[in-house]
Subunit: 418 residues, 2 copies
Amino acid sequence: MTATYACPPGFKARFEAFSEIGSTGDGGVHRMEATAANGKAREQLVAWLKEEGFEVRIDEVGNIFGLLELAGPDAPWILSGSHIDSQPQGGRFDGAYGVIAALDAAIAVRDKLASEGSAKANLAVVAFSGEEGARFNTFMGSKVYMGGATAEETLNQKDAEGIVARDALEQIGFLGTDTPPPYPNAFVELHVECGSSLEEINARLGIFERWWGAHKLDIRFIGETSHTGPTPMAKRKDALYAAAMMITGVRGLADAAQVGSLHTSVAKLLVSPNSRNVVPDSATGFVEIRSPDPDVMADNIARVTPIVENAAKTAGVGYEIVRDDLRRPGVFDVELGDLARSIARDLGEEPAGVTTLPGHDAIMMSEVSRCLMLTVPSRAGLCHHPDEFTDMEDLELGVAWLATILDRLVTAPPAAKG
Amino acid sequence: MTATYACPPGFKARFEAFSEIGSTGDGGVHRMEATAANGKAREQLVAWLKEEGFEVRIDEVGNIFGLLELAGPDAPWILSGSHIDSQPQGGRFDGAYGVIAALDAAIAVRDKLASEGSAKANLAVVAFSGEEGARFNTFMGSKVYMGGATAEETLNQKDAEGIVARDALEQIGFLGTDTPPPYPNAFVELHVECGSSLEEINARLGIFERWWGAHKLDIRFIGETSHTGPTPMAKRKDALYAAAMMITGVRGLADAAQVGSLHTSVAKLLVSPNSRNVVPDSATGFVEIRSPDPDVMADNIARVTPIVENAAKTAGVGYEIVRDDLRRPGVFDVELGDLARSIARDLGEEPAGVTTLPGHDAIMMSEVSRCLMLTVPSRAGLCHHPDEFTDMEDLELGVAWLATILDRLVTAPPAAKG
């Protein structure tokens, strides 16, 4: 049994200070990727990393790494972190908690192991760029780091205002040129649950064992502008009308499915020209189909096409698939889960095995590294909302858990992912 | 019989030069109210008015009047014009044609009557602010001039970016302080048809005899943000889903009605936070119900409320009516229509009596003045689109018609509206 860690005493103040950056004044933060507020959060993180003696590296898509070379240049790496971008008017825990926790845990581990001389691996902290997908694509940073997208295509993306990701990152001073550290043998991400499973069974700690799949389809309907007054109804080519039929159709899929087997949404819609007197010639709906079951996913994805085709036909418009991005359901590393369970018990808690429905950087990282995802309760399951909340006692317990796990991984590193 | 006018030779060059301001490069213009491009168009108009000796007045909502005091300070006024704002990526004829035509016609009338000394009324040209409603409310300028709205409420409006109308007008230098001229005895607006009635019967000139009513309802659905991944479907309060049901429901009203008796649209939709992973907590749809028949209007407006209520209930959200603005169907001045018909025959054309489905400043002005609306064909009825087109021969014929009518109104002014 490894001696367990306590939460470092400075964590609370650090987390609270970080929550002020881009604060919406009602408990939330508004820190979308590469905005000014996101830039301030990045600068604060880098300042803390430097103060604490980490080697800071900013890579070409703005991922921030803080490196502690504890065991020499040829030793394997252990990585921990999450993201610090937020949804618009989002919560202050989502992402940021895992980064600040990793920072304080890594400092504690470094300080303890330095005196013991027992490190067999190096340790790094990461804040991945643009996990939320609120401004640019989801998993912007981790997807490039793990090789699932090129920096080129990622940086060429435009936000809704037409601002290019490269320019936005450059504007805040985080278009880096540093080489990121090698793929770690283990990646550990601590994150608030963004769901209510833990709260429902009164558990304080959870281990994400699996993740839901998510199919993201951006469908653009293409009509023709005309005046909403005189144009005969039969001659209208109304892209928004088609999108509305798609939205109700996609919702119908989830309403018809067994509860908990399928979640669907169209939460973002871009309409052009979006003027009250002009029949819209373009409407792009961002469809999501989510399920833990690959068969349910495949079945329902197959049902989207007829919905879209029927909507286009009824409205007299065309359509194109702008993006088609499937994240299959999957499982996190079982051995790391066992380690985390054992250490939770050392801390006096029985952790629950849970499933994550939202995506996380650890899902991306699972392609190249063993991954462990730890979680603490979200009050009422709320997420992406200023009322998102986790008790400070649970947050601190999570940090102690993470620090103890990182200690074990650094002193007895697992083999690299096979 | 009054001698008929020819189109002034400079009209074509003036209209073409004006079409370059805010040009989209494909025949269209992008000159929404109080934008930089709209400001340039306003400056050009004012420059021409001053060159030609008009007294220029800019009132408190930016309406531009060019006055020719032909018959002394106590004589009645005759007013002609339209608007120079456009829809986004709109056409170059809509509005601008009627202003440039009024300018050139007024110059010709002034020059002829000065030599004859026969003017019994004064003559003014007007470009009303923000007719299109693409950025601020429809009929922004004419509605304040005729007393249907206060300058205060009009200037306090915000556009989609939160920019206040007052600030936008000030920015382009058109927040004026001049007193507008008194209500005219007659207002004459020349406008492209924005419909295909003339083209269908091969008529080159048309007289709008009546206008469709329009009910504009801005409905905001109010839900709650949550994560599109984990939030159980039954717990979602999805404002966009409600709006989608309203859009299809409102469309259904028109589809169920007799062809040509009812047009409906939801062409603008504002979604918040409009992020793909966040269930939207707000969606505002801009509903229009249009009909020539007051009973059909009333009947269908009554059907909107159950559609909205059912959508809100099904999506588990609330709603509020942000704006409720009814423009009843109506008729233009019959005597002025007869005069226009007689003069068209003098020009060798039989004008068609037609109905306008879009709204125009002349509808607002009908509350305080006799109004005459003249029109020329729109190719394929296209409007609010860069392909909007009218032959130069028809445009020039319209200017000649307008000039001859203005001559008659200035030399034999009709009584003021009773």
